[in-house]
C-alpha cells in the first residue's frame, strides 16, 4: 500500500473542485456493479461444475486442457473484444447478434473470469480426502459424490467468482470497445480527458472503498471455509476417476470454454496475419523488447514470490493472521492498477535524484508490478507451505539447526515447484498489465505488450496480428514450462 499513500495525500489535499459524485458517476457505478454481479454469476455457473468435474474425473487431454484454462486470464480483455469485433466484421452469421454493449461485455468478461472459480473449485476439491470421496461413492454413486463435493467447494467457488466480478470494476477495456458505461471508463475520463488527478484519485478511492465494503463481510463469513478448502493438508489426495459419461462431459465442457474464451477471439485477432503475415517484423520486435519484458516480468515475479514466501512462512502457524493476510491480499488485487502507478510517479518526482535508480528505473516497474500481483503469489505460497509437514520444523528445532540453514537447505528446495509456478504466473499476469507498465517504464524501455499497444493505432493489421500471435505463443510456452517444472523437480526428489 506504500505507493498509494502519496496519491491518497494528494487526493485529500488536491485542488479539484469537481464533485466526485455526479449523476454520470453514479449511473456508471450502478452499471458496473450490475456487470460485476453478472460476471460473477456467469463465471460461477460455468466454473464451479467444470472445476468439480475436472478434479474428480479422468478425461482425455487432461493436462493441456487444464493448462489452457488459465489462458483467458492472461490476456487483456480488450484484446479479446477486438478479436470478437474482427470476427463480427468478417465471418459472423448475420442471423446471430454480434457481441456488443452490456451483453457483449458480460459475455467476454464472464468467459475471461471462468478460470478463477474453476481453479478455486479444482484446488478445493483436491483437498477432499480420497476416503471421503470413496465413502460417498459407495453410499450413493456419482450423484452423492457431486452433491457432497459441491457443498465443500461452494464457499471457495463463490469467493473466487466474486473476486472475478470485482476485478472487472477496474477494467475499462471491454466497456470501451463494446460501448458500455462503466466506472472504470469514468475514472479514465478524469485522467485522460479532464487531466484531473485529484478527481480521478477520489473516484478511485470511492471505488476502492466500495470494493472493501463488498469484500469484507464475505471475507469474515466465508474466509475460514476458504482457508480450509484452499490451503493444503496432509491427506491422501483424491485420484481422478474414470466415468463413461462424466469424463466426456468434462472434456467437452473444457473444450467449449477454451474455444469461446480464448481460441475464437484469438483467431479473430490474428485473422489479418493470415492475409498479411509479418512474422519477421514481429519476431524482430520480440527480440528487441524481450530483455525489458523479461526484466519487468521476472523482477515482478521475484518480488511477488519473495514477499509471498515471507508472508506464508510467518503465518504458517497462526490461522487468524493467515486469514487477515488473505483478506488484505484480495482487497489489494481489486484496486484499480493506475492508483498505485500514479502514486509511484508522484513519489518519484518528489524524491531526490539520488533515488532515481529505484524510483525511476526498470526496477521500480518490476517492484510495483510485483506488489500488484503479490496477492496471487501469496495464495500459491500459502498453499505450498501448508503442504509441508510441521514435524520437519520441529526436528530442526530439536537438532538446533539454524533458521536460515534449515530454510535454505530444506524448505526452499521443497517449495521450488510451487515457487516456479507462482513466479511464472505472476510473470504472465504482469506482462498483461499495460497501465502500470506504460505509466512507469523509463523512456526507451518498452515491453512487448506495451509495444503492441503502441503500434496498434496505425500499423498494418498484419503486423499487429503477428505481434499478438507472437505474444500469445510466448505466454503459452511459459505456461507449458510452468506445468512441466513440478514434474521435472519431482523426478529429482522421489
Amino acid at each position: 500500500m506504500a505507493p498509494v499513500l502519496p496519491l491518497i495525500a494528494n487526493v485529500f489535499g488536491g485542488e479539484s473542485t469537481r464533485l466526485v459524485w455526479s449523476r454520470a458517476f453514479g449511473d456508471s457505478l450502478v452499471n458496473s456493479l450490475l456487470l460485476a454481479s453478472g460476471v460473477a454469476t456467469f463465471s460461477l455457473l460455468i466454473g464451479l461444475p467444470l472445476g468439480l468435474l475436472a478434479a474428480l474425473y479422468r478425461f482425455p487431454g487432461r493436462s493441456p486442457l487444464l493448462l489452457f484454462q488459465a489462458l483467458p486470464l492472461l490476456l487483456p480483455s480488450f484484446l479479446l473484444c477486438i478479436g470478437w469485433s474482427n470476427l463480427a466484421a468478417s465471418v459472423w452469421p448475420t442471423w446471430f447478434p454480434a457481441p456488443s454493449g452490456f451483453a457483449g461485455c458480460l459475455f467476454v468478461l464472464g468467459l475471461q473470469a471462468v478460470p478463477l472459480p474453476f481453479f478455486g473449485t479444482w484446488a478445493a476439491c483436491r483437498n477432499l480426502t480420497a476416503s471421503q470421496i470413496d465413502a460417498a461413492r459407495l453410499h450413493g454413486g456419482e450423484w452423492v459424490v457431486l452433491r457432497q463435493s459441491v457443498r465443500f467447494c461452494l464457499p471457495v467457488a463463490v469467493l473466487a467468482a466474486v473476486l472475478a466480478g470485482i476485478l472487472t470494476l477496474s477494467d475499462p477495456g471491454a466497456p470501451l470497445i463494446f460501448g458500455c458505461r462503466s466506472v472504470a471508463v469514468e475514472i479514465r475520463s478524469s485522467f485522460s480527458a479532464l487531466y484531473d488527478f485529484t478527481l480521478a484519485g477520489r473516484q478511485c478511492l470511492v471505488l476502492a472503498g466500495l470494493v472493501i465494503l463488498l469484500i469484507l463481510p464475505m471475507m469474515i463469513v466465508g474466509l475460514p471455509s476458504l482457508a480450509t478448502a484452499m490451503l493444503a493438508r496432509q491427506t491422501r489426495p483424491v485420484m481422478p476417476y474414470s466415468h463413461r459419461v462424466l469424463s466426456w462431459v468434462t472434456m467437452l465442457g473444457l473444450v467449449t470454454v477454451i474455444s469461446l474464451g480464448i481460441v475464437i477471439p484469438t483467431l479473430g485477432l490474428c485473422l489479418p496475419a493470415v492475409k498479411n503475415p509479418m512474422l519477421g517484423r514481429a519476431s524482430e520486435k520480440l527480440l528487441v523488447t524481450s530483455g525489458t519484458t523479461l526484466f519487468f516480468t521476472g523482477g515482478a515475479g521475484v518480488t511477488a514470490i519473495l514477499l509471498a514466501l515471507c508472508m506464508a512462512l510467518v503465518t504458517a502457524k497462526d490461522s487468524r493472521l493467515r486469514l487477515f493476510v488473505l483478506a488484505v491480499a484480495f482487497m489489494l488485487l481489486a484496486l484499480p492498477p493506475a492508483l498505485a502507478a500514479l502514486g509511484v510517479l508522484r513519489m518519484a518526482t518528489d524524491a531526490p535524484a539520488q533515488l532515481d535508480w529505484i524510483t525511476r528505473s526498470r526496477l521500480s516497474v518490476a517492484l510495483i508490478l510485483g506488489l500488484r500481483f503479490f496477492p496471487i503469489a501469496t495464495v500459491t505460497m500459502m498453499r505450498a507451505v501448508g503442504s509441508l509437514s510441521p514435524s520437519w520444523t520441529d526436528a530442526a528445532l530439536v537438532h538446533g539447526v539454524s533458521w536460515t540453514r534449515f530454510h535454505f537447505r530444506v524448505i526452499v528446495p521443497l517449495l521450488m515447484p510451487s515457487i516456479a509456478v507462482g513466479l511464472l504466473l505472476v510473470m504472465v499476469l504482469s506482462a498483461a498489465d499495460i497501465t502500470t507498465t506504460h505509466l512507469l517504464q523509463p523512456p526507451g524501455e518498452q515491453s512487448l505488450p506495451v509495444a503492441i499497444f503502441t503500434v496498434m493505432a496505425n500499423s498494418p493489421e498484419g503486423l499487429v496480428a503477428s505481434l499478438c500471435l507472437v505474444y500469445l505463443l510466448s505466454v503459452i510456452l511459459l505456461l507449458v514450462a510452468a506445468s512441466l517444472l513440478p514434474r521435472f523437480w519431482r523426478r529429482r526428489l522421489p
Binding site: 466484421a89 485522467f191 528505473s361 523512456p443 496505425n458
Partner: protein, 348 residues
C-alpha cells in the same frame, strides 16, 4: 564448492542488474542523450529520431503513447513529473495537448530559428508550442456501401437519414475527435454545435473507442461512413481496403487541420539538446520526410515538395476551418465536464 559458486554468481548478477537499472536512469543525464515523449505514432516518429541521431550524434530515447484510449496517457505522466521532469521535449500529435501543458505550467517558451516559413496561425503566439506537419479530419467511407455519387461531403451527412445507424465516430472525450468537437463549438457556437451533436444522436451514430476503430469498422463494412484522421485513412488505403475519403465542408466551415506541435519541457534535464531536437523537427526537411514516409502528413509550408502519388491535398488547396488552437484547450476542458460528457453518457 558448488554452493559458493552459485552464491557468487547470484551476487554478481544482482549487482549487475541493479547497476543496469541505474544505468538506464543515468544515461539521460549525460549531454549526448535526450528524452522525447510523443503522442505521434511510433512508426512515424522513430525514423525522424533516427535521422536526428545520425546527424547530431545525440541519442534520442523515445517514449511513445499507446493506443490512446487504453491508457491514462503520456500527458498524465508529464503533468505528474512536472516538478522534476524526465522528458526534454514533447512531440505532440495535436496542438490541444500542447496548450494543456502550457496551462499546467509544464512547458517552456522557445522561439526556434528553424520555425521560419511555418505559418504562425497554427502555433502559440508566446511560442510555448510550434506547429508543423499536419493531419486533417476527414470523412472515411466504404466504397462498397456508398456509391460515388452519394458520398458524404459534410460532417452534417453523419446525421443524414441515408446513413442512419451506419455512421460512426471516435469517443469525443479523447484524442483528435475531442479536438474536433471543441473546434465545432468554437466555430459554430454553442447552440448550433449542440444541435449538431443531438442530430447525430438522433441518427444513431455509433461512438467507437478510437479513430483506428473507426477506420477498421468502416473498412470492414460494419459502418458506411466515419470521422477519422488522414493517417488512419492512409493505413486503410495502403492495405488495399475498399475505402475513400472526403475533406468535409469544402463549401462551408471547412476542414479541421490537426498539426503536430513541438514543445520544450520546462526544467528539463537537457534543455539545449532539447532545443536542437525542436529545431530539427521544425525544419523543412522533416516536413518532407513526414510527407514521404508512412505518415503521409501534409506539410504546413507551401514550398515543401510532395512525393509522387501523395494522397492528400496541400494546405493551400484546402478550405481550412478557422480555429484559435490556443483557446481550444479551455473549450475542451469545460465541454468534457459538461455537454460532451453528458452526450457520451447518453449515447454510448
Amino acid at each position: 564448492m558448488k554452493r559458493r559458486s552459485f552464491c557468487y554468481l547470484a551476487g554478481v548478477t544482482i549487482i549487475k542488474g541493479l547497476a543496469g537499472c541505474a544505468g538506464s536512469t543515468s544515461s539521460s543525464s549525460s549531454s549526448k542523450n535526450i528524452v522525447v515523449y510523443t503522442s505521434v505514432d511510433e512508426v512515424f516518429a522513430e525514423p525522424i529520431c533516427k535521422r536526428f541521431e545520425k546527424e547530431t550524434g545525440i541519442k534520442v530515447q523515445l517514449m511513445p503513447d499507446t493506443e490512446e484510449t487504453k491508457s491514462t496517457g503520456l500527458l498524465n505522466r508529464l503533468i505528474a513529473e512536472k516538478d522534476r521532469p524526465r522528458a526534454d521535449v514533447f512531440w505532440s500529435g495535436d496542438p490541444v495537448r500542447a496548450a494543456i501543458l502550457k496551462a499546467k505550467g509544464v512547458s517552456a517558451s522557445y522561439q526556434s530559428p528553424d520555425a521560419k516559413g511555418l505559418p504562425t496561425e497554427y502555433s502559440d503566439p508566446e511560442r510555448y508550442w510550434t506547429s508543423f506537419s499536419t493531419r486533417a479530419r476527414v470523412i472515411i467511407y466504404n466504397k462498397n456501401l456508398v456509391p460515388e455519387e452519394k458520398k458524404p461531403t459534410s460532417i452534417y451527412d453523419l446525421a443524414a437519414p441515408r446513413f442512419k445507424g451506419k455512421a460512426c465516430l471516435a469517443n469525443p472525450l479523447f484524442g483528435t475527435m475531442s479536438m474536433h468537437a471543441a473546434a465545432l463549438f468554437q466555430v459554430l457556437g454553442h447552440e448550433k454545435a449542440t444541435k449538431f451533436f443531438d442530430s447525430l444522436a438522433g441518427n444513431a451514430v455509433k461512438i467507437l473507442s478510437s479513430n483506428g476503430e473507426v477506420r477498421r469498422r468502416v473498412a470492414n463494412g460494419q459502418f458506411a461512413i466515419g470521422l477519422t484522421d488522414t493517417d488512419d485513412v492512409y493505413v486503410a488505403v495502403k492495405e488495399g481496403k475498399p475505402v475513400g475519403f472526403v475533406y468535409p465542408d469544402a463549401e462551408g466551415i471547412g476542414t479541421l487541420l490537426v498539426p503536430n506541435a513541438a514543445v520544450l519541457i520546462a526544467r528539463s534535464p537537457n534543455p539545449d539538446d532539447g532545443k536542437k531536437f525542436i529545431d530539427f523537427l521544425l525544419r523543412a526537411e522533416t516536413e518532407t520526410a513526414l510527407a514521404s514516409g508512412e505518415a503521409a502528413q501534409i506539410p504546413l509550408r507551401s514550398d515543401v515538395s510532395l512525393p509522387n502519388g501523395f494522397p492528400f491535398k496541400r494546405v493551400a488547396d484546402l478550405k481550412v476551418m478557422k480555429v484559435d488552437y490556443g483557446l481550444l484547450a479551455d473549450k475542451l476542458e469545460s465541454l468534457s465536464y459538461s455537454f460532451l460528457k453528458d452526450w457520451v453518457d447518453k449515447n454510448l
